[in-house]
């Protein structure tokens, strides 16, 4: 039987054996005390949503480079370890264990998909591994329906907050106040439905239709016909690029042209792929690399440009996610400085004290003890972006700024 995967695996076993033998007998895990100065991620590096994982990686590696050039943290350089989960929850669970127990990293940064973040909830709690989400926006990732969330934090959007934001923006742009919902049948899409329903109740809007679709569906005419016949002139979309593109195409075919306000599953890639068909589609976000940038963001962009051989900001496929990842690394670094050592528990406690000025906004403090404040980006920092001439821009820099 082959049970050791590779020479490195073998070496790691032996090292781990030496390090752990004594303590393992005593029953206390070694990693509770000292962790390595590495930030590791389980990201979507291959498969159909690989560009999302890459977006996270760009943000993380850029920030780590900056920090290391400035001397690192507590005198040590940070390392980035990137694992691929292909978007699959069970692989994310394996990776979380690998990061927490084998690589013994100080923190883990999450990827794009909400189901993966949900899957590792018990794992990071058990290991005591600080986890920072930078994309997956599912409410339940942070706000647990049972048990206390002690280790999972997020510098990203949260569906419970995104839903009212989207609905408000949709209402502003709707002339008949009839709003339809399109959501993907995934953990993220399905999970957002209760949030949207709650938000609709709060805003006293009636959704004229709630339509779902599966990943890889290429024709969404049936759902759109129902929304059209229900009279919706504005559609709130919870989904990702390929189906977004299919939706635009189906709309064109059935001659239905509602305003689309989308959660941030839509990336800059859609503009590239769908061209002018995407123009005027609104997307919620936290940041855009297109348009005018301030000096700091300009510097970050230049660094990313060289490091990842990009040509234009439109190639940062998930602009908000990259920015969130960048800020998340800085929050981790700040927390480490406060903690004074590479100790996971101390660092976690320091999260509640971090004050930091990031590119997505100001964090003061980054986190609070209340469950809902394990999210660092507040709704007031949410921004609306729109596609214009194939680029995803801040809405203020497009003609689609409120009519």
């Amino acid at each position: 039987m082959i049970l050791i995967s590779s020479p490195t695996g073998l070496r790691a076993t032996v090292v781990a054996a030496n390090a752990l033998l004594a303590i393992a007998l005593a029953g206390t895990p070694a990693w509770a005390q000292k962790a390595e100065p590495c930030i590791a991620g389980s990201w979507e590096l291959t498969g159909p949503i690989a560009h999302m994982g890459l977006a996270v990686r760009m943000g993380v590696e850029t920030a780590v480079d900056e920090i290391n050039e400035a001397g690192g943290v507590l005198g040590r350089k940070l390392r980035v370890i990137a694992y691929d989960d292909q978007g699959e929850p069970s692989r994310a669970v394996d990776n979380a264990r690998r990061i927490g127990e084998q690589d013994n990293c100080i923190a883990m940064i999450g990827g794009f998909r909400t189901p993966n973040a949900l899957a590792i909830r018990p794992v990071v709690s058990e290991i005591g591994l600080p986890w920072m989400g930078v994309m997956s926006a599912g409410t339940r990732v942070i706000e647990w329906e049972q048990g206390t969330n002690e280790w999972m934090f997020r510098t990203s959007m949260k569906d419970r907050w995104v839903a009212p934001f989207l609905l408000k923006k949709a209402l502003e742009r709707s002339s008949n106040k009839k709003i339809g919902l399109m959501f993907e049948a995934t953990g993220w899409g399905q999970g957002a439905v209760p949030d949207i329903e709650a938000a609709a109740k709060g805003l006293e809007v009636k959704l004229v239709g709630k339509e779902t679709f599966n990943l890889k569906d290429q024709d969404l005419s049936a759902q759109l016909i129902r929304l059209r016949d229900g009279g919706a002139d504005t559609v709130v979309y919870y989904g990702v690029d390929p189906e977004g593109q299919a939706m635009l195409r189906s709309m064109e075919r059935i001659g239905y042209k509602p305003t689309i306000v989308s959660a941030w599953g839509l990336s800059a890639k859609l503009g590239e792929a769908a061209g002018t068909l995407a123009d005027g589609v609104f997307v919620a976000g936290t940041f855009a690399w297109t348009g005018q940038l301030d000096a700091r963001a300009e510097g970050i962009w230049k660094r990313m440009k060289t490091k990842f051989s990009l040509e234009n900001p439109g190639q940062v496929s998930m602009p908000s996610g990259t920015a969130n990842a960048y800020d998340a690394v800085y929050i981790i670094a700040e927390a480490l400085k406060i903690a004074g050592s590479f100790d996971r528990a101390k660092m976690r406690d320091a999260f509640y004290k971090v004050k930091y000025n990031g590119i997505t906004g100001t964090f003061d403090p980054a986190f609070e003890l209340a469950a809902e404040r394990h999210d660092s980006i507040l709704p007031s920092q949410y921004k609306l972006l729109a596609y214009y001439k194939g680029l995803l821009m801040p809405v203020e820099q497009t003609p689609y700024v409120t009519k």
């Binding site: 039987m1 590096l45 691929d84 929850p89 069970s90 394996d94 084998q102």
Partner: protein, 615 residues
């Protein structure tokens, strides 16, 4: 070569040592988890190996059954606070039931058609998981499964490791006990020749259902274990892709081999981890690797290696067939199952079968007396084989009935007839080609075992006793037909004449009261035919009634007590050898103008004399 039992013990011991050493090395939680997941996948693979490797049923929906177990356990634990053991039991039960339902289509649907049913089942299951929000939690799945707890002991990961290991050992032993028992042999038999299996009294549907239930129960067990390992279940772990990878594990490791599923599961899991370094190209590399292995080792790793081993060792010894029948071996008395004893072993009443417009057997009345040799002859296409198939239950009569020792059995399934003591051989020998010669004969004893499935799985005394006795008897039967030397060879490697002998030995294992021989002399040499004649007489002397369909007239004349001549599906003559020999109708049927006579007994009839009927 070690005996299988010693092999099993060695493997179990090696496995146990490995696990203990692994734990003593103090692996990281990640490695512990990885090994636990691998062991769980091994359990699924073992189940699938029983289904595909033994019963020959290809399922591309195994991940769904595995998922059913996982979801049942998770749902009970999360929503109803059911504890570990009952949740696992429910998972096994639910999956086993599901397996039984899935087995039903195998009664009607075969091959690629059946594969599509399993694919469709898997996809339906996946969709239900996504859509049935209130129960399955939709795509988000079920979160927050509490850690298992057995009699107050919390199953922390280090303890759970041993729980999983124990389940794997259990599954492995189940696999061994099935493979090395009449059930495993019967499953392999149904996979390799349905007709022969039926003729030996094996209920195909029953055996397939059993294979399905066992394989599904193991998948359910693994699913339950997975739920309590991961503490989270989501539909993505149970998709079609995963069904494919289970199939890969089994085929890669070696279908039907004991160690194959273990090897396949560990390679697939660990290779996937190792290939992570290849980043974007890992799936590509994975599939290249897979195709490469299939090229080099088409029978899987274990299968190909053991082929190689056998190939190198089998040359060492020359085998010799002995003369047969060996008169020192007694022919056992026939089974006595029916109460009605009459001197007519078999009576057909107006037996008729039509295929479309063609009446292959037309209103045939036949009386075969117990302890006699009764030959059916006639030109090609006369309906002899059709009549034989009607009698033995392979065809359903359009009208008419069959009395077997006084019991009305017309329209009964062939396996039911076999259980009543009717055995047959086939025109084109139907051996279980990839089973050993000895196993072929042992399949014949299938219906004579009294030990139950539980006794077999637990290896209780009655099972051991019976297995020992039947092995002895099977060796004797091989001795009777002079094939003792070949006992451990695969049947497909036997020379043709020996295959005929083996088929007869296998039929005799059924302890038949009536033996139907369908052209047993075809393809035999002159010497072999002489032996066959002696054997047939020997059987008749031991009260086995024989119905013989044969073209070889000299042999028919020599061994038969009675002859019935068919032409165009009708009886044209019947009686003793002498009665038939001079019957002008018979001569005409054979030779049209009747210028040749059957009086010259040494003459072999020319084989394919096309007269009307379609072959």
């Amino acid at each position: 070569m070690m005996s299988p039992r010693v092999q099993l013990l060695l493997i179990l011991a090696a496995g146990a040592i490995f696990l203990v050493v692994f734990r003593e090395l103090g692996p990281s939680g990640y490695q512990l988890g990885l090994l636990m997941r691998t062991m769980i996948l091994m359990i699924v693979a073992i189940g699938l190996n029983i289904l595909i490797g033994q019963a020959g049923l290809v399922s591309l929906g195994q991940a769904a059954i595995y998922g059913l177990g996982a979801y049942v356990a998770a749902w009970l634990a999360v929503r109803h606070n059911v504890s570990f053991l009952p949740a696992i039991a429910a998972a096994i039960l639910a999956s086993a039931c599901c397996g039984a339902i899935l087995a039903y289509p195998t009664v009607r649907v075969r091959g690629a058609y059946f594969a599509v049913i399993t694919i469709a089942f898997g996809l339906v299951f996946e969709n239900i998981l996504i859509e049935w929000l209130s129960v399955t939690g939709g795509s988000q799945g079920l979160i927050g499964i509490p850690r298992g707890n057995v009699f107050g002991v919390v199953l922390t990961r280090p303890i759970y490791f041993w729980v999983v290991a124990a389940c794997l050992f259990f599954a492995f032993v189940v696999q061994y006990n099935i493979m090395h028992s009449r059930y495993g042999r019967a499953m392999r038999a149904t996979a390799q020749s349905e007709s022969a299996a039926r003729a030996l009294g094996i209920n195909l549907a029953g055996m397939r259902t059993l294979a399905f239930v066992i394989s599904a129960a193991l998948a359910g067990l693994a699913g339950g274990l997975y739920a309590f390992l991961n503490l989270y279940v989501n539909y993505e772990t149970f998709s079609f892709f995963h069904s494919v990878s289970f199939l890969l594990m089994v085929v890669l490791g070696g279908l039907g081999t004991l160690l194959g599923p273990l090897l396949g599961a560990s390679i697939l899991t660990y290779i996937a981890e190792a290939l992570q370094n290849l980043r974007e190209w890992q799936i590509f590399a994975f599939s290249v690797l897979l195709a490469a292995v299939m090229f080099v080792m088409p029978r899987g790793i274990v299968g190909s290696l053991s082929d190689l081993y056998h190939h190198t060792t089998s040359r060492a010894r020359r085998r010799e067939a002995e003369p047969w029948p060996n008169h020192q071996i007694s022919v056992e008395p026939a089974t006595l199952m029916a109460e009605h004893e009459t001197d007519a072993a078999l009576v057909t009443e107006g037996l008729t079968v039509r295929f479309g417009g063609l009446t292959a057997v037309d209103n045939v009345r036949l009386s075969v007396y117990a302890g006699t040799v009764h030959a059916l002859i006639g030109p090609n296409g006369a309906g002899k084989s059709s009549l034989l198939n009607l009698i033995s239950g392979f065809y359903q009569p359009t009208s008419g009935d069959v009395l077997f020792f006084g019991e009305r059995v017309g329209g009964r399934q062939s396996h039911e007839l076999a259980r009543r003591g009717m055995a047959r051989t086939f025109q084109n020998t139907e051996l279980f080609g990839q089973m050993t010669v000895l196993d072929n004969v042992l399949v014949g004893f299938h219906t004579h075992y009294a030990s139950t499935l539980t006794e077999t799985l637990l290896r209780l005394p009655r099972f051991r006793r019976e297995e020992f006795a039947f092995r002895e008897r099977a060796q004797q039967l091989l001795c009777l037909v002079g094939l003792s030397d070949y006992a451990d060879d695969e049947a497909r490697h036997l020379p043709f004449g020996h295959q005929r002998r083996l088929e007869i030995a296998r039929a005799l294992a059924l302890r038949p009261r009536l033996l139907l021989l369908d052209e047993p002399a075809a393809g035999l040499t002159h010497g072999e035919i002489e032996d066959l004649k002696r054997l047939i007489r020997l059987l008749a002397d031991n009260e086995v009634t024989v119905i013989l369909v044969e073209h070889h007239v000299e042999m028919v004349m020599a061994v038969s007590d009675h002859i019935t001549v068919l032409d165009y599906g009708k009886v044209i003559a019947a009686g003793t050898v002498a009665d038939v020999r001079d019957n002008p109708k018979v001569i005409e049927a054979y030779f049209g103008r009747g210028n040749l006579s059957l009086k010259r007994p040494d003459r072999l009839l020319p084989e394919p004399v096309e007269i009307g009927g379609a072959k």
